[in-house]
Assembly symmetry: D3
Homo-oligomer: 284 residues x 6
Amino acid sequence: MRRLLVEDLVRVALFEDLGRGGDLTTEAIVDAGREASADIVARAGGTIAGHDAAHAAFSMLDPRAAYEVRVPDGTAAAAGECVAVVRGNARALMTAERTALNFLCRLSGIATATRCLVDAVGEHSARITCTRKTTPGLRVLEKYAVRCGGGYNHRFGLDDAALIKDNHIALAGGVAEAIQAVLGRVGHMVKVEVEIDTLEQLRDALAFPIDAVLFDNMTLPILRDAVTVAGGRVLTEASGGITLERIPEIAATGVDLISVGWITHSAPALDLGLDVSVKGVSSC
Amino acid sequence: MRRLLVEDLVRVALFEDLGRGGDLTTEAIVDAGREASADIVARAGGTIAGHDAAHAAFSMLDPRAAYEVRVPDGTAAAAGECVAVVRGNARALMTAERTALNFLCRLSGIATATRCLVDAVGEHSARITCTRKTTPGLRVLEKYAVRCGGGYNHRFGLDDAALIKDNHIALAGGVAEAIQAVLGRVGHMVKVEVEIDTLEQLRDALAFPIDAVLFDNMTLPILRDAVTVAGGRVLTEASGGITLERIPEIAATGVDLISVGWITHSAPALDLGLDVSVKGVSSC
Amino acid sequence: MRRLLVEDLVRVALFEDLGRGGDLTTEAIVDAGREASADIVARAGGTIAGHDAAHAAFSMLDPRAAYEVRVPDGTAAAAGECVAVVRGNARALMTAERTALNFLCRLSGIATATRCLVDAVGEHSARITCTRKTTPGLRVLEKYAVRCGGGYNHRFGLDDAALIKDNHIALAGGVAEAIQAVLGRVGHMVKVEVEIDTLEQLRDALAFPIDAVLFDNMTLPILRDAVTVAGGRVLTEASGGITLERIPEIAATGVDLISVGWITHSAPALDLGLDVSVKGVSSC
Amino acid sequence: MRRLLVEDLVRVALFEDLGRGGDLTTEAIVDAGREASADIVARAGGTIAGHDAAHAAFSMLDPRAAYEVRVPDGTAAAAGECVAVVRGNARALMTAERTALNFLCRLSGIATATRCLVDAVGEHSARITCTRKTTPGLRVLEKYAVRCGGGYNHRFGLDDAALIKDNHIALAGGVAEAIQAVLGRVGHMVKVEVEIDTLEQLRDALAFPIDAVLFDNMTLPILRDAVTVAGGRVLTEASGGITLERIPEIAATGVDLISVGWITHSAPALDLGLDVSVKGVSSC
Amino acid sequence: MRRLLVEDLVRVALFEDLGRGGDLTTEAIVDAGREASADIVARAGGTIAGHDAAHAAFSMLDPRAAYEVRVPDGTAAAAGECVAVVRGNARALMTAERTALNFLCRLSGIATATRCLVDAVGEHSARITCTRKTTPGLRVLEKYAVRCGGGYNHRFGLDDAALIKDNHIALAGGVAEAIQAVLGRVGHMVKVEVEIDTLEQLRDALAFPIDAVLFDNMTLPILRDAVTVAGGRVLTEASGGITLERIPEIAATGVDLISVGWITHSAPALDLGLDVSVKGVSSC
Amino acid sequence: MRRLLVEDLVRVALFEDLGRGGDLTTEAIVDAGREASADIVARAGGTIAGHDAAHAAFSMLDPRAAYEVRVPDGTAAAAGECVAVVRGNARALMTAERTALNFLCRLSGIATATRCLVDAVGEHSARITCTRKTTPGLRVLEKYAVRCGGGYNHRFGLDDAALIKDNHIALAGGVAEAIQAVLGRVGHMVKVEVEIDTLEQLRDALAFPIDAVLFDNMTLPILRDAVTVAGGRVLTEASGGITLERIPEIAATGVDLISVGWITHSAPALDLGLDVSVKGVSSC
């Protein structure tokens, strides 16, 4: 199914790039029947994600294109390392290049950023998790890239779990009111998490059979207290202003989860390029 | 037409976030008929882009929602400034929040990054221009965000102009061969640009009626020479390794265009948040 | 969002009924500008669901059509009772009739069947819940109809909760193996339920932090024991061979949930008809 | 073409079931490369329809899945009989199971109901025919299931034949007026049928070159008279309140067609299940 | 429904014309808020068809655009006559112009060609009818244009009537075999027409309860005989090599229908232009 | 990519022709497993275009159908010549026939008309070019057919080049104003052409760095003067009232381009037919 989704997204991207007229430059220069080989090379080191999208881009233009993975999704590539080799129709390689790389660089950028944070957690037990701050239309792929980087996924959307946030609490008139409303309405297979600003709110919340609490933008001492109060009865999650530098001290508080929006919305793309071999022989 | 495209993209994004079950939390807590007001506030300073997408997200869930722009697209918001006020059904505001912000933060991030570079050009005549390194599916919106930041757009795709790159030249067997192939095939309304690595290539290229040359990753001295050789007969474009710090010296060479991939593929999202007013009164 | 989904489904259904040539009969007989009124009448008693789909069918052909609900979704209509009155273009009423009724009769049939079972539970605390045995393409609407009938929704799909079934256990090599695999992989916002065939399996399962257990096709005595063993630590669900007659005794075992596939896959449609008033005056 | 339509419908159904996150349970438990075999078994006896949809569901997740039909569409399966064997990727079998069965059970339910009525007609010449009371989006498949059960198809939509119903007659001001309006407008390849309530109306209608008459909810004696009056000059169709018990006496009146809405809108699904073989060996 | 189909087609056409970048010329020249008026003028005389598509093109870019029909669909416009006046946003008028005219000119061309043939029939009773030789994707609109020109529609597709053609007869092994196969399989609401090459074939065909016969490329004398043999028992249709000049003599044979492919596949577009009024005042 | 677009268009066309019920006639007559061969024959001479669409139509109904091109796209077929042979499932050949031919006849008609004009240019250097007056939805295919006929393509849409027309000039308040507005706004890869009515306008326009001028409906003497004034500094294009007869004298003026709308909007379809071989042996 993931395959079908990836194909849909790649198809949209190819039509977006090729427009009505197709690749004017390549069609003028490269013979229709010419075959070629191309290396996808990491210009900088990082964790790779998105081979299936890159593969789909080439296959859509040349169904017989062979895409050989050298550095699989979820593993690290060094700067200069060849992460995949593609062989097939030369026009197809040239024309699909940008689309393939646009997916691969973005998703590898997310995996790389996630991996950095995961490594910073070190021996602590906290999991790095993403948010719903994803690129419109690409959420499934970006959440996958987070997993490739060693992270975990939070909700995929507003419908697969309940998360009571500050605006909800304000509208409901209090933490207890909000939690009661949600517990009375959602199905038995839906987990419930509550955003907590103060220890008092936390104690109120713990009176109910909720599954997790989210500590947003707490100072380190208060976060520590909050984890203690939660006492393992619910999962604890820290979020807000998470930087690479702060990860170790946050993880050290004992929170179960650290959620970070910027690994999906602001991770810089990983620099990957495609080198076509004129002789059709990969140098990898 | 842009309106129709924006609506299509926002619709996809809303379905992606709402899934099959809708906003479980909000529907449990907020009465169906409740009205509310919400402020969209810049948590950091930057240049705004994407109000129409944000507006569409709210309108799609509440067709009567009123979206009042305070800081229009293409202008600067200070940290803490309210960039828009939305009024309408409280559920719609809560449910569309993330989708609206996902568009607005990303596009404003691109506009902000572009504006930085444009300002760095200063008195020089160079234009900052984007590339095809855009998010799959969002190219039209991201190119618009570049314009909001004061930048200019390069090709929208492979079909609206010809750009002969190093891989093309290698496959054609030389600059002259590549240019001739293209000039003989493309329609009379298609411009032709050629990527140039050396001054010798540049002289070869200038023998043909081309429209622009792209200097990729040249050192400053060679770039200066290349601009001199071009002599105003064709447009000159510098690209590759462009950082904010290097913009002034590159612009000082007299190039007409400086193209930068990272303003679309790696610009950090601008931090914007939505504050719901419980009393339905905007604090802006 | 539900509105957008309903409109999509109704649009497909209208195109399916109107084909390329449109409503040949009505266009030949009824003047284009004629206005009319029509009553939607319950030919048999039941619980109504699906007014928004019926409304959308008429509105799509006559955007100014007025659809007045007399018996709202989730409430009971007596045989002969008028559940809605539509006023608008006479052609639109005639042409949209079948599409509107095909949605309304099916969804009301589901609501009616669900309501029967819910009433049979009586004073017991068990909730009636549906399954994934829904009509392809109509799951969201059918799950809504279940709620209209007083029932609760189980998973909306394979991705919003984990349900370990007998085939999974067989492939995993045991209950414990299956549960461990799932707990180690799914996100922290995902609930886990396990299908249980024997009390021994149940005891094995309860060693893990799961959320619910599903007792499939158990005899009444064993079901009673199983609920006792579960001891309120997890939610308990009975399924398999549930008939209206058996509901009271099953509910009496103290299970939390009774899931029934046939309320969505085999509930007979509720008989509703549309009576057009020649004089344009509703008789309701 | 049917193949393309089936693939479209199955694709929608799979996305509906898999959502954004895919089959959480199966992916956690079953190895990606594992192969398996599964039997689709009839839990109750009935007539099978819909193998191509079931096949498509498995193939879409595993293009190399082999689907071997044991009881073809249109033939009877005994309770306990294996109707098909599927071999392929174990995850694909588990994940597509519900979608495949949702199609197969519904369509087989329709075929089974139709077959019951067809058998009840016995030696009489009447054909059982369906109506437009079908599930939104599935009309083509459901009409096919009717044919699998030995029934015949009525109109596929409002555009492939004219059927003048009571509401049309009322709006036209009489049977003759309605018929004349239709005959003067429709193309020469369009058949015309008229709903008849009384013998007088029938005589009025027979004055025109119509193709068929529909007797709705007539008593048996009047129906007999009506068939006599029609005298073979037009096809005669009985509808309304058709039950299995009444079929023989209605058929005995000599009507050419008996149309029944409930074989599509209220036929209970045929109970079919999928048994996965852990050892990858079908027990069929 | 026709409205929805027209909107879909117009939307596709607008996206096709506007691409990713929109109307570069108009956006550079015309202020966003400017209002204008434009006249759609017939440069040559003809019968108009397609106002709803033209209207939709303008409305899609400016929902408040007013489109005033001066020469309605199905009526004649003289050369130089204003057929419609549009008022609205000046950019919208300029940008939608070509799309609106592409529909209007093509459909009016079909209506005009049809009207010519219909007029040539004169006092004879023959109807001019179209075929399935239509533009891919535009069949419903083109069949409508035929009706605007006074013609009648043949089958809309392969599924709304049976037409046994020479290739079918060859594959069946004879006229009688082909007819029997069809009569035994199609539903009771499906008409059957048979292509006839010789009088002998005609006599064979008339032995069956068919609805119409198609005489393809017959000489005038044989056509006359064939009509006589048919004797009013079935509808008769002449086709093949029908020119404007031959219409009267063919109609004089007494055939009921004359079908002409070229009124849809080769009718020259009617020349219509759009004149924008700079002062915003229509000159009509 | 062209392949994907062609498949999309063919799929729409097949669904349009097959509707809900499929090919009633063929399915009744031709056995499901029968194989056949069919020749696509040119009934009149012309230049062929569109084999890939015809091929796709057959392949979509029989993925193993073999389509052998005898007269390739862009080459001439004599009357009676076999342009392609298709082998495959007999039902698929019969059912896809009309769709395949509807594409092939239309596109070959455009190629044939273009080729006529190109041949009429003779020794002169003028290129025949098409316009945006294409069939809604088919622009890419029709522009391709123009190239098959030896013509060149003008803009594919409003976004790939700027063309300042008379209405733009009127709204801008003059040629110079319009050109300045456009040059200041469009990207550096966008060409600019200006429609010119008088020599004075031409001189005004040549003061700017534009790429081409369009002379609309000029008399021959003025056209000659205009070409002289342009003096090779910009490309010159003649349009308006171009007939086959006038091509030589227009070409003789030295214009670079002659654009003709009717080769796409009014070219008569090339007459091609499909002959099925009953014995499955092509006679070609």
